[in-house]
């Protein structure tokens, strides 16, 4: 029997971690002479108090879902992909090339090709560290983080040379009108619902589909079975005839592709041109999202929305008070600290508490699917 019931593992512990992070953040806010309760109210209201807030929250969440899923699938194979940032940058290059090169007549045609372009470029960027890890044992944490810098430099180079649009700014030309993705305001407006003008767009639906697809892949297909088995024990994987090189490669390709898909939301959906920095740390937030979501697509979705709300709420906080935006980075860091590094601090007392109250072995648990 597992030490904790499923619901406590997936819901209670993250919740407690979050509350602890908020309490400590509140202390920090109080320390700089602000009212933490007022700050919290502004943040919550700013994030989910209006369709404007929701639009931005879910727009950010869409980015984090993609990068979170990217980290999550790698975690299942016990690979720590911290190169989501660079893979997303390359993905944005792929998406931009697709959008710039063809005069698209309609977004419904442009989107699938952009998905392909972003995915392929992101996957390609993950392929090299994956190959080095699988065949040479070069540690993927080191190689992926180095590839982040290379990606960033590559993008800057392209934006001041081949892709540069006329003018001062290092950015590409605007994408054609036919590649414009419908925003939430446009989609909901068509069915008579009033929604504020926000960058939230149909990519959100693609992100939801990606969650479902990843769940299917991990728990319903042979490949997912092999990825999970390899992640738990590489020795056992070899015993079962699972090729470690193949699984490492495939997992990282999928991971890189998911990170690359972030660009259809940020680049194709919002900026509609290629900018120098279009990822804005989402690749790293994805690590926290995957940690907090326990690498499960549903958990990743919930954690992504939460981090989206933190981003948006933080922006509002900056508008309305003198609390600097960096405070949000502090809160995020605390959430990461509590969900990731300090997980055991909450977990082991909770396990003991549960064992004390449960002498009887419980009924077979709900399947973890």
């Amino acid at each position: 029997m597992d030490k904790l019931p499923k619901w406590a593992d997936v819901a209670l512990i993250p919740l407690i971690n979050l509350i602890l992070a908020l309490i400590v953040s509140g202390l920090v806010v109080a320390l700089i002479g602000q009212d933490p309760f007022e700050a919290l109210a502004i943040m919550v209201n700013g994030a989910v108090g209006s369709t404007y807030g929701w639009g931005y929250t879910l727009f950010y969440a869409t980015n984090f879902i993609f990068t979170g899923l990217a980290v999550a699938i790698a975690f299942h194979a016990r690979l720590f992909n911290i190169g989501g940032e660079g893979q997303a940058q390359l993905g944005s290059l792929g998406v931009a090339l697709v959008c710039l090169m063809v005069p698209w007549p309609h977004w419904l045609i442009a989107l699938p090709v952009a998905i392909l372009g972003g995915g392929l470029f992101g996957a390609a960027w993950a392929a090299i560290p994956a190959y080095l890890q699988a065949t040479r044992g070069s540690h993927i944490v080191i190689t992926t983080i180095m590839f982040n810098f290379i990606a960033s430099a590559l993008l800057v180079y392209l934006l001041v040379s081949a892709l540069k649009a006329p003018g001062m700014a290092p950015e590409s030309a605007r994408f054609v009108e036919g590649s414009h993705l419908p925003t939430a305001r446009e989609v909901l407006g068509a069915i008579g619902i009033d929604f504020a003008r926000t960058p939230m767009n149909v990519s959100f639906i693609v992100a939801l589909l990606a969650c479902w697809g990843l769940w299917l892949l991990l728990w319903r297909t042979r490949l997912g079975y092999e990825i999970r088995a390899f992640g738990h024990s590489d020795k056992a994987a070899v015993y079962a005839g699972i090729n470690p090189v193949r699984i490492t490669m495939i997992t990282m390709l999928i991971s890189g592709a998911l990170a690359g898909l972030m660009a259809i939301n940020a680049v194709m959906g919002e900026q509609e041109r290629l900018l120098q920095d279009n990822v804005l740390g989402a690749g790293f937030v994805g690590i926290a999202v995957a940690l907090m979501g326990r690498s499960h697509p549903v958990g990743v979705f919930i954690a992504a929305v939460l981090f989206g709300a933190l981003y948006q709420g933080g922006a509002e906080l900056e508008f309305e008070t003198s609390i600097p935006r960096e405070m949000i980075v502090v809160i995020q860091a605390l959430v990461i600290l509590f969900t990731g590094a300090l997980d055991g601090m909450v977990r082991s007392p909770l396990e003991k508490a549960f064992l004390r109250f449960r002498r009887q072995p419980d009924k077979p648990g709900v399947p973890a699917e």
Binding site: R220, R228, P364
Partner: protein, 528 residues
């Protein structure tokens, strides 16, 4: 009447809902060898950990030499004169024997004084108890038997007069084990008290004065060894009558299934693990491979099971196996009718975090019957798992439990069920009953014999000589990556096998333990 060296009263210890020790009472008289026997998970190790200060008992009292003693940590245990020799030695590999003995018990900031004092004491001890060890040898150059002696010396150097040994013979050849027991006898004569934890009935019968039996956390009996029988002890351990010998008919070998010629394996660091092995296994026959752990038997199983590359010629049913190329993986081996029960079920045979039903498909997960289009047919796997769990009496019979939540014996039953139900032509099986309770051992042995009787070939690797002798139809002894010889179980005995296991082929002559030790150390030293 003298006070008992150790007396425990009403010791209980729970880990959450699991009660590892229930109201244990035990008296160990000074100057005796007291055996503690029980199945895996019976609570022996927990009890000893309480005595050595690793765990704190929930209730109960400890008396040492009649005095009530609190043992909050191992330092306190050492002060109370208790020494412990663990199953896995705790020695610094690149230190000398002397340095290891002094480590943690130095007299002052300068080592020199402690070392010379230790040297004198060591000399005295080794003369007294036949505990001969070269004080200046490095641990990494010593064989396991020698390392164990260092552990004992470490305890004696700390003035232990109560010595606890946890499964001390697991890694020893029979001759080394005999020597260890002679040492223990010597210690006993000097008035030391010894507690011997083991699951081997024979050792209990041969060496102890009294024996306590543990079952499911309780002390079920304490008896004088001279007044009991192995049969009675086994029943006390399991709680029902058990068969101690495997019941099997003579083999009727058919044509050759597995033929191995000049098989060589070099591991990742360039060390030769197999140096040209040739053997064959026929239909309806169990070939047992015995040897001291680390002499190449694991590599033999792994290369045949498709887990590592090798060189040489191996045929199964006359068809040659690919040993290095694209077809050398475990998946292809399974398609060729080779099933593999690996030596380490927790690291290899099972995914501990997978449900039982997921594990039933492990290795066979690409079978057509487990697929439904592009997806896996989880319903079909669960149905299959339920049937296998019922047939092999896996307990609890719940395919939604994770593998890690089953006991060792039931984990092994899951592996055996998965591999045997494929009806393979050749079964590779390593340490089938390691860490498995007696009741399950009996069942697993029956299943292996049944497979043989169904006309299949079985290659058995085990470090348990008893198991090799009782299951095998033919025995091959492996030493330093070579087969030292083949024997029929009816025409050999433990003494002869033990010498072969140490690489000594002129088995008619007498050989000293030191000679055996040296041979083994030479082999393992080279390998390591």
């Amino acid at each position: 009447m003298t006070a008992p060296a150790i007396e425990l009263k009403g010791i209980s210890k729970s880990f959450g809902p699991v009660q590892a020790n229930k109201d244990i009472a035990i008296r160990v008289m000074p100057g005796t060898i007291h055996g503690i026997i029980g199945e895996n998970g019976a609570g022996k190790s927990t009890l000893m950990s309480i005595l050595y200060g690793f765990y704190k008992a929930d209730t109960g009292e400890i008396f040492i030499r009649g005095e009530r003693t609190e043992i909050p940590d191992s330092q306190a245990a050492i002060r109370a004169g208790i020494g412990m020799v663990f199953q896995h030695f705790k020695l610094v590999q690149n230190f000398t024997v002397l340095e290891n003995i002094v480590l943690g018990a130095e007299d002052g900031a300068l080592l020199k004084g402690s070392l010379s004092k230790a040297r004198t004491l060591l000399k005295q001890l080794s003369e007294e108890y036949e505990l001969h060890v070269d004080p200046d040898a490095k641990i990494e150059d010593l064989g396991v038997g020698m390392q164990q002696r260092v552990e004992i010396l470490k305890a004696l150097y700390r003035r232990a007069d109560i010595l606890i040994l946890d499964e001390p013979t697991g890694v020893l050849t029979p001759a080394e084990a005999d020597h260890l027991f002679r040492i223990l006898e010597g210690l006993k004569r000097e008035g030391k008290t010894i507690i011997l934890i083991t699951h081997k009935l024979r050792e209990i019968m041969e060496t102890t004065d009294t024996v306590s039996v543990m079952r499911r956390g309780e002390m079920t009996a304490t008896v004088k060894t001279a007044e009991t029988t192995p049969q009675e002890l086994a029943e006390l351990m399991v709680g029902r009558e058990v068969l101690l010998r495997v019941d099997k008919q003579a083999a009727t070998p058919g044509e050759t299934v597995l033929n191995v010629e000049n098989l060589q394996v070099v591991d990742g660091s360039g060390v030769e693990r197999l140096r040209g092995i040739s053997l064959n296994v026929k239909r309806g026959e169990i070939l047992g491979i015995c040897g001291v752990a680390g002499n190449g038997q694991s590599e033999l199983l792994e290369v045949l099971g498709g887990m590592r590359p090798g060189k040489g010629r191996v045929t199964v049913n006359g068809q040659e196996l690919d040993l290095t190329g694209a077809e050398s993986d475990a998946r292809t081996r399974r398609r060729r009718g080779i099933a593999h029960v690996p030596e380490d079920r927790q690291e290899e045979g099972l995914i501990m975090d997978f449900f039982a039903w997921e594990n039933v498909a492990f290795g066979y997960h690409d079978d057509a019957r487990y697929q439904r289009g592009a997806m896996m047919n989880n319903d079909a796997i669960r149905e299959d798992a339920e049937a296998k769990i019922a047939k092999f009496d896996v307990r609890p019979a719940n395919c939604w439990l994770k593998a890690k939540n089953f006991s060792g014996g039931n984990q092994q039953k899951i592996v055996i069920a998965r591999e045997l139900e494929r009806n393979p032509d050749l079964l590779l099986v390593g340490q089938p009953t390691r860490g498995v309770d007696i009741g399950a051992i009996e069942f697993i042995h029956e299943q292996i014999v049944a497979l043989r009787d169904a006309g299949k070939a079985v290659l058995l690797v085990s470090v348990e000589l008893d198991e090799i002798l009782s299951l095998s139809d033919r025995i091959a002894v492996i030493f330093d990556g070579r087969i030292m010889g083949e024997r029929l179980p009816s025409e050999t005995d433990e003494r002869e096998l033990g010498l072969l296991m140490a690489g000594i082929t002129d088995t008619d002559k007498d050989h000293s333990v030191d000679e055996i030790e040296e041979n083994l150390a030479h082999a393992t030293g080279k390998a390591g």
